[in-house]
């Protein structure tokens, strides 16, 4: 086996990281940008709708959602994601600890929901950099949602 030249690989890796670096500075991420990449409020509403379909199919978590007011949940979650991503929406639902405390949500269930959200964003063609940025802003809610 002929070994790969380490120089070539170092250059390749540097290139990958540098390209990454340049993009960061270009898209210096004003919050409005993320909101637009999610497709504004109507794009977010579509993502939340697809998320709901995925939740209903998902035996790991669908019990929790049995009997909820779907329309209200859809409106509130859409407003929340719109607001969190820097859009012009006001969230009028309850706070995260209050609305989730009684459910004793486990790590497994939290992961399941995170997975479904990512899949819903993928279905709606959200670029992975925007997905990651939205999740970055939701992760601080983890202790509230799990009521830790």
């Amino acid at each position: 086996m002929k070994p790969i030249n380490p120089m070539t690989l170092t250059l390749f890796l540097l290139a990958v990281l540098t390209i990454g670096g340049c993009q960061t500075t270009n898209s210096a991420d004003p919050s409005g940008n993320l909101y637009e990449q999610l497709g504004k409020r109507s794009g977010i509403a579509d993502i939340v709708e697809d998320l709901l379909y995925l939740i209903v199919e998902d035996d790991r978590i669908n019990d929790h959602f049995a009997g909820i007011d779907v329309k209200e949940f859809h409106t509130n979650l859409t407003d929340q994601l719109c607001n969190v991503s820097g859009g012009p929406c006001t969230y009028t639902g309850r706070n995260m600890r209050e609305s989730h405390a009684d459910m004793n949500i486990t790590d497994t269930e939290f992961n399941a929901l995170a997975e479904n959200l990512i899949l819903a964003m993928e279905e709606n063609g959200v670029p992975s950099s925007a997905q990651n940025r939205l999740i970055e802003r939701l992760v601080p809610m983890y202790p509230d949602i799990r009521n830790l």
């Binding site: 070994p3 890796l13 990281l17 898209s27 790590d107 497994t108 990512i118 950099s129 601080p140």
Partner: protein
């Protein structure tokens, strides 16, 4: 009887669906891959992540085949691991290093071995935190109990023991959208060890026979959620007088199409390994295929 037949048919029909749903709930690639010592990690070093995808209500596991081919040696590893509730990871790995390039000098010394081989049992405990959700990351501690299956060569080069245990502590943290909106995974490990070449040349030596702390680390970037590129470094002790032992490093690319499989390819530099015949630095390719259940 009809009922029994129906049950069996139904069982067969549902089996594949159940099997695929059974892969745990943690998000893609959060089990890392299988290191050459069996523990979840990168290729050369354990990470704080536990193998497979078991979340807090689940079981999970992995089986892995890996091969590194350097200028003069080849290392084969078969590994398996089980994780309980993202809390405890139990692993086993068997390593076999082929010594073809050394057979002649070894036989001159009256040794007719053509391989070095050892078994490694590993236990890792997640102490605190979650790699994705905790601001301070995920922290784990573990040990690797290693036993040489053939001890003639290690003994000949003045290794002091055919078994040894490495103890380590690791921290892993994913930074969301860190570079160009891409996620960055950082791992650090400190290992107390007496192992020579990871243990393949036994434990302790004529030059040093006490535990030393070694630093290991890696940085990797998720290009997408399926592709990960990174670099890894592992500091090594230098216990044997017959040849200098050097640090290891690699650059890798891993492909995680879904939870069930991952493929990792790397360029590895193992430094000079057991260089009694002027073989020079051992550089080459590494390939690892892992299945999770």
């Amino acid at each position: 009887m009809r009922l029994l037949a129906l049950t069996i048919v139904a069982g067969c029909l549902t089996l594949p669906a159940v099997a695929s749903a059974d892969v745990g709930s943690r998000l893609w690639a959060t089990g890392g891959v299988t290191s050459i010592e069996g523990s979840a990690g990168g290729g050369l070093s354990p990470w704080a992540l536990l193998n497979g995808y078991a979340s807090d209500e689940e079981w999970g596991g992995t089986v892995t085949l890996s091969r590194a081919v350097t200028d003069d040696y080849s290392l084969d590893v078969t590994g398996a691991g089980l994780t309980w509730q993202n809390r405890v990871e139990l692993t086993f790995a068997r390593q076999t290093l082929d010594l073809d390039s050394l057979v002649f000098p070894l036989s001159n010394a009256g040794l007719d071995e053509d391989e070095l081989t050892q078994d490694i049992w590993g236990l890792k405990l997640r102490l605190i935190g979650d790699v994705l959700y905790s601001p301070w990351g995920q922290w784990s501690a573990g040990f690797q109990y290693k036993k040489n299956r053939e001890y003639a060569v290690p003994e000949f080069v003045q290794s002091q023991d055919e078994t040894g245990t490495d103890f380590y502590a690791s921290g892993s943290k994913l930074f969301f959208a860190a570079i160009a909106g891409r996620n960055l995974l950082v791992n650090g490990t400190v290992r107390a060890t007496k192992a020579n070449q990871g243990g393949l040349l036994g434990f302790g030596g004529d030059k040093n026979d006490s535990y030393e702390a070694m630093a290991e680390g890696s940085v990797s970037l998720f290009l997408t959620r399926q592709w990960l590129v990174g670099v890894e470094y592992r500091q090594k002790p230098d216990n044997l007088g017959f040849a200098k032992e050097e640090d290891w490093w690699d650059v890798f690319i891993a492909w995680v199409p879904d939870r069930r499989v991952s493929v990792t390819a790397a360029y590895v530099d193992l430094g000079e390994v057991a260089d009694i015949a002027d073989l020079g630095n051992q550089k080459g390719a590494y390939l690892s295929v892992q299945a999770s259940f």
